[in-house]
Amino acid sequence: MTHEPQYILGIESSCDETATAIVVDGKQVISSVVHSQIDEHAAWGGVVPEIAGRSHLRSIRTVVDQCLAEAKLRPEQLSGIAVTNRPGLMGSLLIGVTAAKALAYAWQKPIVGVHHIEAHIYAALMSIEQPVFPYITLVVSGGHTSLYRSDSALSHQLLGATRDDAAGECLDKAAAMLELSYPGGPAIQQAGAGGNPKAFQFKQPMLERDSLDFSFSGMKTALLYKLRGPGNRLTDPWIIERKQTSDICASFEHAVVSTLARKCMRACQQHDIQQILIGGGVACNTRLRQVMNKLCAEQNIDATFAPPAYCTDNAVMIAGLGYELFAAGKADSLNLDVFAQA
């Protein structure tokens, strides 16, 4: 029997990116469109739900049309539609899911709801020719910091998660303290580029001996104390000079990413697994890649990062995982619901 190529349209609108993509058989990307709203939210220090919802509504049709045009496909050539339905901002999720349902109904195509975090894992899996499971998987972004054991593209067991702030959120809050811009991750990376990562010591919380959970709020508080200087009095101006800003950014970033990397190593040891997948917005971070690759080389572990373009929110990973879900017979009906938390 010859295999009919499956063209899956992916739609993503869970937070502040309106994205569409068409992926063939879960592997080959033939078009990908991302409309980022980041400039619309930057002034507010984070995503503003109502602005996000309205912006998704304005761009959803355009990004669908653009995606089909780039792929040079007609709707009838599509095999199915995959859409993020959890977790995320309710008002934002609803725009993508409602659009997907309308298109599925109009074009008479099957629809499937996709878990956003599992899709971030799939983004890393896509760059591996023939995945051999299991993997230890780290998903790290503004809203999530979680470790999984992945036994297939569709089966992920949660091993640990942050007990307080997500890693990206921690970087956002640190950037705010340092009066850097939003989002904090890239701002701190840039400000710390020439800095000495060993200039300041930040204790890396590893929690209990066996724990695979994370905790970043103590690190954030430690930064606050460093900025306040001796005696814990808020000095004005803050003690940090420009040169020190780059050192403190480098040191703080180093502490955050080292914690992430060391937990991955711990998970590998506990589960006797020698390969790691890393996805999510913070997976773009250069220092995380450096530290992770160094530790992995020492311990003979393979680390695969999602390609930078598919670390931040995108629809390629949604179409990709959607393909796997359709193949496993997991299509949804037009009653597909949305969930803020998964």
């Binding site: 984070g46 109502e50 309710m90 307080d164 702030d165 709020s217 508080t221 803020a340």
Partner: protein, 175 residues
């Protein structure tokens, strides 16, 4: 910060708590006194222990998942003995946008409204509830103060203080 809390009420109690672990334990004690429709607001600087306190309260209420920082999504809805709406009000405009979209309809008599940075976006909060103040002392210790707004707030604050007083002096934290 102090001005906001004293405008709610004079502190019913102000105690020094020696560690994050003990802070969580203090929060847990409040759990049995709460009922659906109650409001609990946290006020304190970045890193003062607001989320730590909330996580302790969540444990006391047998929350289905541990409470985490709601800063990113602004609001977490967590199943527990009393369903918890856990909010971060730091960015008032962002919260206004979320609640203005209709999410404020979920403030009702079945949920506990648990708000970090409750001195922000105050127009959303009921005039009846408990306020918890947290202040940095040293790197480890925090001053915890309890304030009551309205009749229900004063009742909760008074009862909660009785239990907190029993904790003093704090037993040394195990290492």
């Amino acid at each position: 910060m102090k001005d906001f809390l004293t405008s709610i009420s004079e502190p019913f109690i102000a105690i020094e708590v020696p560690s994050a672990e003990r802070l969580g334990h203090c929060a847990k004690l409040l759990a049995p006194m709460l009922r659906g429709g109650d409001f609990v607001g946290l006020v304190g600087d970045l890193g003062a222990g607001k989320t730590t306190w909330c996580r302790g309260l969540g444990e006391g209420l047998n929350s289905q998942v541990p409470l985490r920082s709601p800063s990113y999504l602004l609001m977490h809805e967590v199943d527990a003995d009393i369903p918890i709406l856990h909010l971060d009000a730091y960015f008032e405009h962002r919260l206004d946008s979320l609640l203005g979209e209709g999410d404020c309809e979920r403030f009702n008599a079945t949920n506990l409204l648990l708000v970090e940075w409750a001195n922000h976006a105050t127009h959303w909060w009921p005039n009846n509830g408990l306020y918890v103040g947290l202040k940095h002392n040293s790197n480890e210790t925090r001053t915890l103060s309890i304030h009551g707004d309205g009749e229900r707030g004063a009742q909760l604050a008074a009862n909660y203080c009785k239990l907190l007083k029993n904790l003093i002096p704090f037993e040394p934290t195990d290492v």
